[in-house]
Symmetry: C2
Subunit: 316 residues, 2 copies
């Protein structure tokens, strides 16, 4: 008897193809934007769906757990868990898996955005394409090397970032609420203290369910008019109105932003600023990484339904 799966987020085409080749029936409802949409669209198959394909932003909300009584496994194509109700999943015995294979690509994007913000890469590209080079020189950027780098959240992404930064001749500080041992990088006592001691601050914190803003106005002001802020974590971890205002008024030097509080909507005011580099949540969007992530989603579902175990389950 065919195993039925629901899919509430897009996946690489080969993932669906391979699942269908193996006889799974996949119900795709990724056009929805909330658990109510997904629950409604999956309702006709709710009695049969035993597995769910989700994404880092969609997760596994409580409402969807309740709407899918036969659900055994939720395979998330990403690592964010802030929209997943882990206690509710545990109570129901549902296994949740992520794709812990994206840290290097995300750390790369942090460097790329930090350098692009300092060296004005996107602005420079616009400058050349608009023919402005023929009229003169563009304004100077700032050095990336030899700076005081700050990493807010020293998990696997933060550590991959720190290893890359070691080649740039600066100093590396971090703040993480969980004490770290055996690391040579300088620990700061608070996020604001880290910002005060940093020229370039990278937000690499995991978004946790119900967690509030961790980059507030005070922290951005501590970073200051020459400071550069990079966000490859989550937009809602930042006081975005304060960020936009400080960038527009000179209170913060520059920013490289891959994530936004209400993405894909980006604050209108940011779109006109030259001191920001804006990317559409592409930290893991490389061919190589998407392939690896898709293979991980696939391996979790196939192994679960053939051997009764998941490959990369979340400890819940």
């Amino acid at each position: 008897m065919a195993i039925h799966l629901g899919a509430i987020s897009n996946q690489q085409p080969f993932v669906f193809e391979e699942l269908e080749r193996r006889g799974f029936v996949v119900h795709k409802v990724s056009q929805g934007r909330s658990w109510q949409d997904w629950a409604r669209d999956l309702a006709p198959y709710a009695g049969e769906i035993r597995g769910l394909l989700s994404g880092g932003m969609t997760g596994l909300p409580k409402g969807l757990i309740d709407a899918l009584p036969k659900l055994e496994i939720c395979a998330i194509n990403g690592v964010g868990l802030e929209t997943t109700d882990l206690p509710a999943a545990k109570a129901r015995g549902i296994v949740v898996t992520t794709t812990p294979v994206l840290f290097d690509d995300v750390a790369d994007l942090a460097i790329a955005l930090g350098m692009a913000a300092c060296r004005r890469i996107a602005e420079a590209d616009r400058y050349v394409r608009a023919g402005k080079w023929l009229q003169g020189r563009m304004p100077l950027g700032r050095s990336f090397w030899g700076k005081r780098y700050g990493i807010l959240g020293l998990g696997r992404i933060g550590q991959a970032l720190a290893r890359r930064l070691e080649g740039f001749g600066g100093t590396i500080g971090y703040y993480d609420p969980q004490p770290k041992t055996g690391l040579s990088w300088r620990a700061c006592a608070s996020a604001v203290e880290l910002a005060r001691a940093s020229d370039i601050l990278f937000l690499c914190a995991a978004g946790s369910p119900g967690g509030g803003v961790i980059v507030g106005r005070d922290l951005l002001e501590a970073l200051g008019p020459c400071g550069v802020f990079v966000n490859i974590a989550r937009g809602w971890l930042v006081d975005e109105p304060a960020l936009v205002e400080l960038l527009a008024t000179g209170g913060l030097g520059a920013a490289g932003l891959d994530v936004f509080a209400d993405e894909p909507t980006v604050p209108e005011r940011l779109l006109g600023l030259d001191n920001v580099v804006l990317t559409p949540h592409i930290a893991s969007s490389t061919e190589e990484c998407m392939r690896r992530m898709g293979e991980c989603v696939l391996a979790n579902l196939v192994t679960w339904f053939s051997e009764g175990r998941a490959v990369t389950p979340v400890a819940n």
Copy 2:
């Protein structure tokens, strides 16, 4: 009696201010584009000019040496020497100085352009600003980490680049016509062999006077449809028509280009391509680097005329 200087390239304002504060008379003719222009514009002061401020692209051509019979020192704000006639300068006893303080910023830009090309940073920024994210996802980029990096020209910039690349978990190869010892990076027997063994190729060679193209069509084809080419050296070291054609037709994957054969003119066809990142020769254009370079120019001139020695003379 005041010492007269000529300036044939732009300098940071503080350099001119400090020279004038110290009593130098500076004749600025940077609007010219050839040695004939500069010689003509400096002609009224040719009998008095003892020092010259030049740039990495303008250098010290033979015609200008002949036009300035009292010239003792030429302080170049840059490191390129391909437009400087060193033998003619030596024959006249003219000291030539450069600013060997820009290697780290140039190496940074090489990384920034390589990452921007792989991760489509400039394209992504255009995508967000144009509101396209609201309609869907942009095409995937490619990973930068874990690749086969190739460095063509392992001088001080190439070595600064290699040290940075060590944090990205790939392999580092190089080709340099001058044998290098004591380095852990893999030497290749030729430039084309290096290209064949590279995913991302960085051109870091010095432009030498009268030197021809070192990145020809064969080398770019060896790099191939998935290859990425980065040029932070000189545009005229590359067969630019072949580069443009291969980029436009899929023979080469992507490129990050800071220099062009006939800059500030950029080949029209490049301006419409999404697989290139174009910057207006800004490899050393940071506030910090420009300050350091200006201080170096200043130190050479001041020390020469007060102590009879230069600080960073070129060995000629």
